[in-house]
Symmetry: C2
């Protein structure tokens, strides 16, 4: 029996395009990241990560980024990982693989956002491109949140995934610098988490 297909839905092309994109994007539930869920039982999925980033931005924005267009921030965070449906997640600790992934992610963006009707293709692809380019204040805040949240989740899980991979204090201090480079007001949070992680021996020397 053939699988359910949007081609069989009695809807205009544009609405079928919306639904095809939304079904494809749901594939982010199959992409597991390095950091774990709180009880350590499995990796956080990129779908869960995307939600938690948006919630983090929503919670923190009035305190540390009050002048930003928060809608733009949330929209970028909601779409920023969709390319992983085709390209997979590349751990931040692997710099060579991250560079190689860029071309793959461009192709993935064209295919996935291309499932949408044309105006929405452009709108969502532009959000993804703005996040990647990190030029606007909104994109820089979003990028900082994307670097801060894994530190928080690793720490909250008592550093289980850090220990397993032998992640070092220096590696996390470098990530805190990235957070601060994108959004200085978030660096104290990254620093405090890494200080405590170091004190508790979650990170290697």
């Amino acid at each position: 029996v053939a699988h359910a297909s949007v081609d069989d839905l009695a809807l205009p092309d544009d609405e079928r395009g919306h639904l095809e994109f939304l079904v494809a994007a749901h594939g982010l539930t199959a992409i597991e990241r390095v950091n774990r869920v709180l009880d350590g039982s499995r990796g956080e999925t990129s779908a869960e990560h995307s939600w938690h980033l948006a919630l983090t931005a929503l919670a923190l924005a009035p305190s540390v980024a009050a002048k930003l267009d928060l809608l733009d921030v949330l929209a970028m965070l909601l779409v920023h990982d969709v390319v992983e449906v085709d390209a997979g997640d590349v751990p931040i600790y692997d710099a060579d693989a991250r560079a190689a992934a860029e071309a793959t992610e461009q192709v993935a963006a064209q295919r996935l956002f291309g499932l949408l009707p044309a105006p929405d293709t452009a709108r969502l692809a532009d959000l993804w491109g703005a996040f990647e380019a990190a030029q606007t204040p909104e994109a820089r805040f979003a990028r900082a949140v994307d670097r801060l949240q894994p530190i928080l989740v690793h720490w909250a899980g008592d550093g289980a995934a850090w220990r397993e991979r032998g992640v070092t204090v220096a590696q996390e201090r470098a990530l805190a610098e990235v957070v601060g480079g994108f959004w200085p007001a978030l660096k104290p949070l990254a620093d405090a988490l890494i200080d405590d992680a170091q004190r508790r021996g979650m990170l290697a020397d």
Copy 2:
């Protein structure tokens, strides 16, 4: 060894409150829903559901809800399930349990949003309350998306969870009415999905 605690972080109270809330909210990754991920291997988590709802609203809003405050819609969808960290997910098919859950969810909202600094407690609790009350156009669109998305995900998974529970065409038609009651422009999408599900035998008579 004691677990990582925000009490040990060298940060002002407000910032510790933000982080404590964000860690607690991450517990939505442990709440599994009735509808499955696309390959049927497990239930979608409430964290994944929340992300996919927000993405759905972002993708569809210009076509079907262009006049709404989209930031308000996304913010409501990002927080609407946070109470499930304490109260769990109550399947929509169980009307008695849904009614009983309301008091539990009020207590959960007080505890969880109460972890935040006071202005953010009020802001996020108000978003949750507005979603539950379903009085504003933004809340009604958000509620419609929350009812449409499971139909889409069940359908995309070839109705595996529907079949297992013996969910009927009449039950899903009733949900399509709820979608249409909240946001008429989304009802044709629900109808088309249920029509195809019925044709393919995903739903019981």
